[in-house]
Amino acid sequence: MVTTTSSIRTAKAVQTPEPEGPSGGARRGKRKFPVGVLFILPAFLFIFVFMLYPLVSSGYMSLTEYNFVYDDTPKFIGLDNYFAAFQDTQFMTALSNTFVFGIFYFVIVMVASLAIALLLFQKVRFNSFYRSAIFVPIVVPLSLAALVFLWILQPNYGLLNYFLGDVLGLHFLTQPWLSNGTTAMGSIIVLSAWASIGFVTILFLAGLQGISPDTLEAAEMDGARGLKKIFFIVLPSLRETYILTGTWTIIHALKVFVEPMVMTDGGPGTSTLVVYQQVYLTAFTYFDMGYASAMGYILGLIILILVVLNFFIGRIRAGKDA
């Protein structure tokens, strides 16, 4: 008897579901649908209230002239704010600085993170310690890190000049790091890269660990070792990871704000003024919400274009490799 029952249960378990009539399946589906909606409703409301609504609202605002301290209501002016932005030397300088920052940041973060990930991918002693250590900057708040760098780079009593001058005796290398346009931008790039490399390294490491050991073993058996293995097997296998890390790095590169705000206030002059700083000043110091929204939208569109470009380049290459 027991055997029989068990057989029946097994048979039911593997039984192919009977085809349902036109009304039966649909009815069951309909019964589940409202419950599912209730589950997604909180997320939907959150996205609507905190993302979609502000996005649409600021999109409309960007088409208006509206100083909320002085004007009673926004005045619709079409695309005038967008045209004005491209004739505004302050905005164009900020945009150019953002690109300079972005290019250096992107290259440094991507190359350094990949290199570190490849090193950590090797079986070396204290590997876990190194992996944890590289991740440490992520947990330090960026504004706090910027303040610490501010002290390190201070010209008179900063650690860097002390080390260069008093310890190494290289007085000619000591600089007012943040009072010179070029070194100020360099300092901001270094801080930002320092803060980001750990995270991108972890993403690359995850990608590396996703490569099948069989593939690596087969490559070794075919004589691919050392750099050959890295360039011809490992790196091409990271296409999807490049898309992910590339997207993350592009977004972080162009939305830079905290570092110049805390370390240089955009200076000296406008040497380190970036777009979001200009947006911030326009919105919250000059109260010109319409123009600030337009500038924000322009940068948002640029980021979107670059991210899409990164995605398609990654996909096209992946397709070619396949």
């Binding site: 309909k30 649908f33 409202p34 909606v37 409703l41 939907f44 409301l45 609507f48 209230v49 609504y53 502000p54 609202s57 909320f68 301290v69 002085y70 009673d72 302050q90 501010l150 201070q154 010209p155 008179n156 001058g165 007085h171 000619f172 000591t174 007012p176 943040l178 009072s179 010179n180 346009g181 100020a184 370390m263 240089t264 206030d265 955009g266 200076g267 000296p268 002059g269 406008t270 003024l273 911030y280 000043l281 919105a283 919250f284 110091t285 000059y286 109260f287």
Partner: protein
């Protein structure tokens, strides 16, 4: 299909509700509750440094002791940018604050535009111990425009040179009486600074002077021009200008000083660099608010920390400013709030504030109680100093003007280009306060 439609209707309703919820915050039009009785509690918002330097805890304690049952809560806000959030709320007829202490008249004046703040002339504030004649000199004029008293000043300050006498003595720059002789012009001041500049090889290890060229760079320019020229306006007395022979001469000296390391540019990146170094005894002179003189006295010595009149300031004054206490029109507790200003903020707590931080009392009675060597020099200067122009676009002139000045001082642009761009910026700026 019907059920699906119901679900879609549900989501649409939720969306509309959400939009209404979000929309409320933007267009609220909240009830000011004029008829509601006043509370026994008020909230005062101030920046963190104000809470400390104005001894606000002492003001609250004094007020609460004298007025049992009344409570004053002081909340901190981070910086001037946070005021935009307040203004947004006030424009909807609501206010979480009954009083806000703001950093300067130019910050306060912008809220006049839509009558977001109270005109104290239309209240009973100027009666009794805070009658207008109790205030020092023209102090009230610092926060007044077209007959509207939009803020009550607190903590009077002026721009001038804070000097450390020790360095002047070492450089042999003291006169026969052991005092620092006031420089007649900027060339003399530059020579003094150069004489005290210390170099190690070609590297400057201690500049002779730090000038505030950070976020308050325009205040420095206004102060210096007022001193050397007697005004920072064009002949129409309302248009700010720096395209004057006197200012061009000063700017050339500044550039020379920066190139040679005589004048420090630390303030580009750190606005507090000059003050911190002066208070620590690391530099001979700093040009910004002269309040650093009493502030540095405990560290560099009360006899060494002195006010040095910058060229022309003894005759023409400088740039004067105060923090301002504003009261939102939307505050529901205006009577209690005004009582707190009168009995707490305008009390003799101001004496200790002046002695410790150089933020001078605005009430004559309290000013007279100050006993310090710098008192007379400071008072003489305060009486003839001028506030910044009350333009709607002054914040933009301050931010962009600072960037232009820094570009000039670092050699990115020449003097003519700098002056031309700055004048153009001022020309285009909206100079109305309302």
């Amino acid at each position: 299909m019907k059920r699906q439609r119901n679900v879609m209707s549900l989501m649409a309703t939720a969306s509309i509700a959400a939009m209404a919820l979000a929309g409320c915050s933007a267009t609220g039009g909240g009830d000011t509750g004029d008829a509601a009785p006043e509370s026994n509690e008020i909230t005062v918002a101030a920046q963190a440094w104000m809470v400390q330097k104005f001894h606000m805890a002492d003001m609250v304690k004094k007020f609460e002791e004298a007025n049992p049952g009344k409570t004053v809560t002081v909340v901190e806000y981070p910086d001037n940018q946070a005021l935009s959030n307040f203004a947004l709320q006030w424009s909807q007829g609501k206010s979480s604050q009954d009083l806000v202490v703001v950093d300067g008249a130019s910050v306060a004046v912008q809220f006049l535009a839509k009558d977001l703040i109270v005109d104290f002339n239309k209240t009973k504030f100027f009666e009794g111990p805070t009658a207008k004649d109790k205030f020092i000199g023209e102090t009230l004029a610092f926060d007044s425009l077209d007959g509207v008293q939009f803020a009550i000043p607190i903590g009077l300050e002026t721009y001038n040179i804070s000097a450390n006498k020790t360095y002047f003595e070492k450089a042999g720059l003291l006169d026969a009486n052991g005092d620092i002789p006031a420089p007649k012009d900027w060339n003399e001041l530059y020579d003094m600074a150069k004489a005290m500049t210390v170099k190690s090889g070609s590297t400057v290890t201690m500049p002779g002077m730090t000038i505030q060229w950070g976020p308050n760079a325009m205040s420095t320019m206004i102060a210096v021009e007022q001193a050397v020229r007697g005004s920072f306006y064009k002949s129409d007395k309302k248009t700010l200008t720096f395209d004057t022979p006197e200012m061009r001469e000063v700017l050339k000296i500044w550039k020379k000083g920066v190139d040679e390391g005589v004048f420090s540019i630390d303030t580009f990146a750190n606005k507090d660099a000059g003050r911190s170094n002066f208070n620590a005894g690391n530099i001979p002179m700093v040009l910004e608010t002269a309040a650093h003189v009493p502030e540095a006295a405990p560290t560099i010595g009360v006899d060494n920390s002195v006010v040095l009149a910058m060229p022309g300031s003894m005759e023409n004054g400088s740039y004067g400013f105060t923090a301002g206490i504003i009261m939102p029109t939307a505050s529901k507790n205006q009577n209690l709030a005004m009582k707190f200003i009168q009995e707490g903020m305008m009390s003799d707590v101001q004496v200790a504030v002046g002695l410790e931080w150089g933020k001078l009392p605005v009430i004559q009675e309290h000013f007279d109680k100050i006993d310090a060597p710098w008192k007379t020099a400071m008072y003489d200067l305060v009486k003839i100093s001028q506030p910044a122009p009350m333009y709607r676009d002054l914040p933009e002139i301050q931010v962009t003007g600072k960037q232009m000045l820094q570009d000039y001082l670092t050699g990115k642009v020449d003097l003519d280009k700098f002056i031309g761009d700055l004048e153009s910026l001022i020309d285009k700026a909206n100079k109305d306060a309302k």
